[in-house]
């Protein structure tokens, strides 16, 4: 397993995993001795179905308490205060049974923004995500792709230090995928730490600064994207890139 040079990881939102283990009735679901995610540009987590990608994101976001191990952000163990500075878009996003605008308003109000600020921010977000005309529509009546876009906007709304995205474009058409990728890249350039799970190798090539390849609950390879795609170090990575890796 290749690790990134330490010099690159001096930045906000550096995530550090040590001795992480998650078990469920007999089986080990996650076993990650050490993983440091930091530096500019998005991290993309790749791996076959059931590899533990979503589980890893949940651990990093503090939604699952691991059986063993520690997770730190910028050297501080995860707690409620740190989670406030993270946001996550789930593989199956849950939208509130309210209008599109009210879904955004909900998170902004929780952050104590005044009415005028909220309205301005909601307008800007909806415009950025191409949902301006849907503001007053029930969020539940959005199409799958629109719902995914709203979920991402809601996560971006609070300007988190770290943004976790679990297959954010799995339900999107190519144009919408590109729109989301632009949105995420822009956030990343603003300094937001982006960690995204994807199945799409093309997307990983377009987005990733570094790639984490997972399989059966373990990190098989962690490398800068260029190196990962040009010369994968492990057999699993070569197999994954040629579509022959099985769980």
């Amino acid at each position: 397993m290749r690790e990134l040079p330490v010099a690159e990881t001096i930045r906000h939102g550096v995530l550090e995993i040590e001795g992480l283990r998650v078990r469920a009735d007999g089986g080990t679901l996650l076993d990650v001795p050490r993983l440091v995610l930091g530096g500019p540009g998005p991290t993309v987590i790749l791996g076959p179905n059931g590899a533990g990608k979503s589980l890893l994101l949940r651990c990093l976001h503090g939604l699952i308490r691991p059986d063993r191990g520690a997770i730190r952000q910028d050297g501080v163990p995860l707690d409620a205060a740190i989670r406030q500075r993270q946001a996550m878009v789930f593989q199956r996003p849950v939208l509130l049974r309210r209008t599109v605008a009210a879904n955004l308003d909900y998170v902004l109000r929780r952050r104590g923004l005044g009415r005028g600020d909220r309205r301005a921010r909601i307008g800007a977000l909806l415009a950025e995500g191409g949902l301006a005309r849907k503001a007053r529509q029930s969020a539940r009546s959005l199409s799958g792709g629109e719902a995914q876009r709203l979920a991402i906007l809601r996560a971006l709304a609070i300007e988190p230090e770290v943004l976790f995205l679990d297959e954010p474009t799995s339900a999107l058409d190519p144009a919408a995928t590109q729109a989301i990728e632009t949105l995420v890249k822009r956030a990343s350039r603003r300094g937001m730490r982006v960690v995204m799970v994807s199945h799409d190798i093309g997307q990983a090539r377009r987005m990733a600064r570094d790639v984490v390849l997972m399989r059966a609950g373990r990190v098989v390879e962690h490398a800068p994207a260029a190196a990962f795609f040009a010369a994968p170090a492990t057999l699993a990575a070569r197999q994954f890139l040629t579509g022959t890796l099985v769980i």
Partner: protein
């Protein structure tokens, strides 16, 4: 049959002429039941939501108890309230027996379990879907209660209407604690029973028609709401 047709015509006449005695009874019924339902909702919804959201020892027992209380026979509730409010009862000093307040208390006991139990079901189902997302958004368990109640508003309104349906249509409790006193505690159901027993069919029929009208309106509202809920569920699927 001739008689019946005549009585029915007279009943309609009573309704349409706005007979003050009749409408006094209807208004009292509505006042008592609406207040009972409001009080029940104010207490029952938070109780149901807390039962749905928090895990604590004895929770399952409480839920089973609540579900069992949903089916309480009104007569028994009336008897219990009577015993509590009667002169020698623990609350006898308040002199509430045979007042509308006593009827409201009795109906609250009937309606509260319905609203609390249905709220618990609605909120728990919704929470299963929302819990992780809300946690991710930094919403505490306590703070998620109003969110869940609001997002479950359609189903909760159905629960409230179901409670109202039970309150307005029951007689066993209000007749015991209200005493069916003219101009004081006489409501639709108790008046229907009294007038019928006296052979006074026209006013009984008139109140019956109004009561059925209210019941139909409530049921209609409930099914319209649950239809809307189904449509929204479909949209989401």
């Amino acid at each position: 049959m001739q008689d019946f047709a005549q009585e029915f015509t007279r009943a309609l006449g009573l309704i349409l002429s706005g007979d003050p005695g009749l409408w006094e009874i209807v208004l009292l019924s509505l006042r008592v039941s609406v207040l009972a339902v409001l009080i029940s909702a104010l207490i029952g919804m938070p109780v149901g939501a807390v039962l749905a959201v928090y895990r604590f020892p004895g929770r399952r027992v409480l839920i089973v108890l609540l579900n069992a209380l949903m089916g309480l026979p009104p007569v028994v509730v009336g008897l219990a309230v009577y015993l509590a409010l009667s002169r020698s009862g623990p609350l006898g000093g308040m002199q509430l027996l045979y007042t509308p307040t006593a009827m409201i208390v009795a109906q609250v006991l009937l309606v509260l379990p319905i609203i609390a139990a249905l709220t618990r079901q609605v909120v728990e189902a919704l929470d299963e879907e929302y819990a992780e997302q809300l946690r991710s958004l930094g919403v505490s368990r306590l703070a998620s209660v109003p969110t869940l109640l609001w997002d479950g508003r359609l189903a909760l309104l159905t629960a409230v209407l179901a409670g109202f349906g039970r309150a307005i249509a029951e007689m066993g409790a209000v007749i015991i604690v209200g005493g069916n006193i003219n101009h004081v505690t006489r409501v639709m159901t108790t008046t229907i029973a009294l007038e019928t027993s006296k052979g006074n069919l026209a006013p009984a029929l008139a109140l019956g028609v109004i009561l059925v009208g209210i019941a139909v309106a409530v049921t209609g509202a409930v099914s319209a709401l649950s239809l809307r809920g189904d449509v929204e569920a479909l949209r989401h699927a």
